[in-house]
């Protein structure tokens, strides 16, 4: 039994004696043939410090151990909803600020638009309240995980 995260979702994986996983040696191009139950094919993998990237038949999975991931990932999700913080989901540029500091907003209302690689992405208020902007200017570059604003409940 093992708990892992695949693309940010948690899975409990049970080893099944009825379905043994067979993995053959790496082929010349880096492909690894495997067989398990009715599934078979070649996978490719690349390790990083945080986990391992796996490519299998067009699907890409980023697999992490659960302990570490729980501390980072789901933790911020919960915090974000509770504290009303708005965190940048991607690196990019503040394209447009749609509200003023101190303005009252409703949950779901657009707060600002981020732009990365020609695409615009609107970020919404996570609850009702007053917006506190983190000293932002249009055109400013932000990184993933940066706190952009918080919604202070009335």
């Amino acid at each position: 039994m093992s708990k892992i995260r695949i693309n940010l979702e948690e899975y409990e994986v049970k080893m099944q004696p009825a379905k043994p996983l067979k993995i053959r040696p790496v082929l010349a191009d880096g492909a690894v043939p495997f067989e398990c139950g009715n599934s078979f094919g070649h996978f490719f993998s690349a390790r990083t410090r945080e986990g391992v990237w796996i490519y299998f038949k067009g699907h890409t999975y980023f697999v992490e151990p659960v302990k570490k991931a729980a501390a980072q990932g789901s933790g911020t999700d919960v915090d974000q909803a509770h504290s009303g913080e708005i965190i940048s989901p991607m690196p990019g540029k503040i394209f447009r600020l749609l509200v003023k500091d101190g303005q009252s907003v409703k949950k779901g209302e657009d707060i600002l638009i981020l732009e990365a690689m020609k695409m615009e992405h609107a970020l919404q208020a996570t609850r009702d309240g007053k917006v506190k902007l983190e000293n932002l200017q249009e055109g400013q570059l932000v990184q993933v995980g940066n706190k952009l604003a918080s919604i202070i409940a009335d």
Partner: protein, 510 residues
């Protein structure tokens, strides 16, 4: 017009590489641009001369007209190919080049300007008797005038913010009674988003398709079309799957639309490659949308079915030659599909996925063409479009092309970033797609909350690779190569003589 012997490609990535391949085949000297934003970029491996751009933003490098024109003059370059995006539809750029006596490989400043203005484009098309979408885009914005115009257009109709984009200030109105309320809402949203509450009205098509025709014109006044491309499968208003021929239109409609596209080109006295975009209703009415005055991203599917090299044609007409073929000499064979492979996360609103490619290998097959702009170790950054490659296949018919595309995407390992490959596969396998129900709402209708959930076996595999070092030990035992799974990149174990070189330098006395 003089023969072109040197060309600067004022672009980057896959389109630069694709253009460079044709130019080299034609014996033309290829100049490319090297930017500080793009150090070591893959496209530089495909040009004869890399010219360095100054400037640390896109605006001050790839979009800097003065700098690029200055470099052309300095290097004595004959012509510029703008690719798509960047300066490809910038009339000032085309004009600045013309003023400097450099050939712009495209339709010229005048056509770019006329097609850049939606209102003017529409007027030209109405005059040329090309069907346009009924609508109102007048200056008069009173409730009474808009209501009267709405009644004239008929319902359903769309209220759009004049300054708009991205769906803001947009309202679909299905009956006249709802018009006043919807107008009020659209105006206030437009004001809030764009600081401008002017609106335009347009007939709204339910379940439309986006079908475009490739046109080509020469300096002798000839204009022909090279068939259509069906581009309805879109996410975030960007195409992700294109095909030719369209599964929707029949020969009769194709002839009508092809003629309209050519009329459109003739009305503009069009030179070089262009694309006439149409929106097509369920009852097979088609309406002019716009003309893209450049080589399109999806041009390879036209090349696949016609066997022509569109970049070669661009060069030939740019140096004053006549179009190589007449309309009745153009033929199309089989079916071609293109999928755009993006570094993005389809499970998270298709947001770009940034990172370094840890492993990258393109599949090969006789029916397959891959136009890519990356290689292993490429960095997918925030400055440019996150497209990794265009995967293009041909087949005897549509079903064969689809199954070949599925094979290609299933055998195209990319590691280090999320990609949309699994999502593309979900579209290709969807029965509605297979049945040819390619409408622009396809993804919204059929794959809105798509999730890539790994099956039990794959979960097991993931856990095994993550946790169990015995995998590599086991493979090491049988193959005699220890610890191979622990490399950051598998490429380091591909058997190539270059891996064994240490401290090797060409020309060094060692």
């Amino acid at each position: 017009m003089p023969k072109i012997s040197s060309v600067l490609i004022a672009n980057r990535g896959e389109i630069c590489i694709r253009i460079a391949k044709t130019l080299k085949r034609l014996g033309i000297k290829v100049y490319g641009l090297e930017s500080a934003l793009d150090v070591g970029a893959a496209h530089l491996l495909h040009v004869d001369v890399a010219i360095t751009l100054t400037g640390d933003t896109v605006q001050k490098s790839y979009l800097d007209i003065d700098q690029i024109v200055g470099l052309c003059k300095k290097h004595g370059i004959d012509a510029v190919h703008p690719g798509y995006g960047f300066l490809s539809e910038n009339e000032d750029f085309a004009q600045a080049l013309a003023d400097a006596g450099i050939i712009f490989i495209g339709p010229g400043a005048e056509a770019i300007r006329r097609m850049g203005s939606k209102a003017e484009a529409k007027e030209i098309m109405i005059a040329a008797k090309v069907p346009t979408l009924p609508g109102y885009q007048g200056v008069e914005q009173s409730d009474e005038v808009l209501q009267a115009e709405a009644a004239k257009i008929g319902f359903p109709l769309l209220i759009k913010a004049s300054a708009g984009g991205g769906g803001k200030g947009m309202r679909i109105v299905s009956v006249l009674d709802q018009f006043a309320g919807a107008l009020k809402a659209a105006r206030s949203e437009a004001m809030k988003s764009f600081g401008d509450d002017r609106v335009i009205l347009e007939k709204y098509l339910v379940n439309p398709r986006h079908i475009e025709f490739q046109i080509f014109g020469d300096s002798k006044g000839n204009v022909i079309h090279l068939g259509e491309r069906e581009c309805s499968i879109q996410r975030r208003h960007q195409k992700i799957i294109e095909e030719s021929p369209s599964p929707f239109i029949d020969d009769n409609l194709r002839t009508l639309m092809g003629k309209a596209a050519v009329d459109c080109g003739k009305a503009l006295n069009y030179l070089n490659a262009g694309t006439v975009e149409f929106i097509v209703s369920e009852d097979r009415q088609f309406y002019f949308l716009e003309v893209n005055t450049r080589l399109q991203v999806e041009h390879p599917i036209t090349e696949m079915v016609t066997g022509l090299d569109l970049v070669e044609w661009q060069i030939r007409v740019a140096q004053g030659e006549q179009l190589p073929l007449k309309q009745n000499q153009v033929s199309s064979r089989g079916h071609a599909i293109e999928c755009r492979l993006y570094a993005e996360d389809p499970e998270n609103s298709f947001l770009p996925s940034i990172g370094k490619l840890l492993y990258y290998m393109e599949p090969t097959a006789p029916f397959l063409r891959i136009d890519s702009g990356v290689n292993e170790h490429s960095e997918i950054g925030i400055y440019f479009d996150p497209m990794i490659a265009k995967v293009i296949v041909s087949g005897f018919d549509r079903a064969e092309a689809i199954s070949r595309m599925i094979w290609a995407l299933e055998n195209y390992p990319v590691l280090g970033v999320k990609t949309n490959a699994a999502f593309l596969l979900a579209v290709l396998r969807h029965e509605a797609f297979r049945a040819g129900a390619t409408q622009t709402h396809f993804i919204q209708d059929h794959l809105k909350n798509w999730k890539d959930t790994p099956g039990e076996e794959v979960q097991l595999l993931c856990a095994q690779i993550l946790n169990n070092k015995a995998i590599s030990a086991e493979s090491a035992r049988t193959s005699g190569q220890a610890g191979m799974m622990h490399h950051n990149s598998l490429s380091s174990m591909r058997p190539t003589p270059w891996n064994n070189l240490s401290g090797f330098r060409i020309g060094a006395s060692s």
